[in-house]
């Protein structure tokens, strides 16, 4: 069923539930992601894809369920009976190990590109400025923006901003990268430069969960495609199979709608 993995999965989500008032955003989601695996998540608007990502790094914690990343449980070992303060501290460390890339980049507009990249590594990881700067420069080169370290976010195109945002997440040396529709806010001609960076990252063996409407990216890059509907995983498997021969009616109608839109 799922890709066989050696040892523990890099990400393990067990029976996640999340409600917002009357809305059930996650209705019992379990998901294992192996180290180096790329999982693409698709599904209709409001189906709970973003909620899943923010539960995984506990940006907004699930009402019920557990998340493990790299063998560590979010919020620490429940048997240790940590104080609330200790749980918060554990969650901060937990989040620091998970890179997140947002639809609208969310760069810090008052910081230069370089400062965007070194702020958290210095504050959270305790790296020296020199160390953080050296790593940041290497990352900027990797995303093709070596000449932009002094620029401010406002001076960059959307595609450049998103590449800076990816580099900012990578600067924390995360175990996993979460992408929430990273190209949805971009003009069409800027999409490819961002997908190229993500493709490189996947090739280097980064474990990635990508919420996306870019079906060709999902097909080419993802090891597994997960289809979300009304807070549940309806279907999951190799992208090609799901895209060619979807098993569920909901998946079929979603893919048809997507095709009709000419995506």
């Amino acid at each position: 069923m799922t890709t066989a993995s050696t040892g523990d999965p890099m990400v393990r989500a067990v029976d996640l539930h999340k409600r917002f008032g009357p809305v059930t955003a996650l209705d019992g989601v379990s998901l294992d992601v192996a180290a180096g695996e790329v999982v693409a998540i698709i599904g209709a608007s409001g189906s709970g894809k973003s909620t899943l990502l923010s539960c995984l790094n506990h940006l907004s914690p699930p009402d019920k369920g557990e998340v493990w990343v790299g063998g560590k449980r979010a919020g620490g070992d429940p048997a240790a009976r940590l104080s609330r303060r200790a749980v918060e501290a554990d969650l901060r460390r937990f989040r620091a190990d998970i890179g997140m890339v947002f639809q609208h980049f969310n760069l810090f507009p008052h910081f230069s590109v370089l400062q965007n990249l070194i702020e958290a590594p210095m504050a959270v990881r305790g790296r020296s400025r020199a160390e953080a700067t050296e790593h940041a420069r290497a990352l900027l080169a990797q995303v093709g923006l070596a000449d932009k370290e002094k620029a401010f976010p406002a001076e960059l195109s959307g595609g450049q901003q998103q590449r800076v945002a990816i580099a900012r997440a990578l600067a924390m040396k995360p175990a996993v990268m979460l992408f929430d529709e990273p190209t949805s806010a971009l003009d069409p001609e800027l999409v490819d430069e961002v997908l190229r960076v993500m493709r490189d990252l996947a090739r280097q063996g980064m474990t990635m969960l990508v919420v996306t409407h870019e079906m060709s990216f999902a097909e080419d890059v993802a090891d597994r495609l997960v289809f979300f509907d009304r807070g549940r995983i309806v279907e999951s498997g190799p992208p090609r199979e799901i895209l060619r021969t979807p098993q569920h009616e909901r998946t079929r109608s979603f893919l048809q709608r997507l095709l009709r839109r000419g995506a």
């Binding site: 923010s54 790094n57 940006l59 901060r92 460390r93 989040r95 620091a96 190990d97 998970i98 890179g99 997140m100 947002f102 609208h104 980049f105 969310n106 760069l107 810090f108 507009p109 008052h110 702020e119 958290a120 504050a123 959270v124 401010f152 976010p153 406002a154 960059l156 195109s157 959307g158 901003q161 900012r168 997440a169 924390m172 806010a185 971009l186 003009d187």
Partner: protein, 228 residues
Amino acid sequence: MNVALLAEYGPALLEGFVTTLLLSAIVLAIATPVGALLALMRESGQPILAAAATVYVSVFRLVPALLVLFFTFYAMPQFGIRFSPMGAAVLGLSIIGSAYLSEDIRGGLSAIDAGQYRAAKALGLGWGHTMRRIILPQAIPIILPPYITRAIIIVKSTSLASIVAVADLTGQAVRAASITYQPFPFLITAGLLYLAISGLLAVFQAWAEHRVSHERRVALRTRQAGAT
């Protein structure tokens, strides 16, 4: 005649002016951090802290400042807490001022996109660092113009202190006027001196607003380049 009178009461007016400056400075120095604390409490997401701050702010924005001053000056001694006129005025005006200032500060904080908090949190940054390095540097330019408007209102409201026997600029001017039966020169002089303080603040505000509108343009460009 007017000149002679002004010369005679000049020192008293000057003393009043200094008292007004001092009172304004002390009230702002207290009300600003308290107002900031109240705003942070309301934005903290901690239900009890937020509720306590909301009650405080609502109450002290809805009751007359003069009533609060009367309370600190006349009513508190009944509970054995006695203040000098200046002390009562500082306390009363700071209570009211902090409630208003917290609203201005909160307005600036809520202008910051929620995505900034999310991005900082996702990077593992704590609340204090996020506020100090990410949120406040963006919020302060937005807060500054309404803050100065409020500061001007607070400076003017210090004239209420004259009613609880503080010899501030208004107090001294009214005293001279009632002794000499010549209200005109003293009230005009007091008015001009208030105008000088407020005017200075207004000039600072104009400069700050110019700076902010520049930063807004930059921020707007960010958003246009970002979200479609």
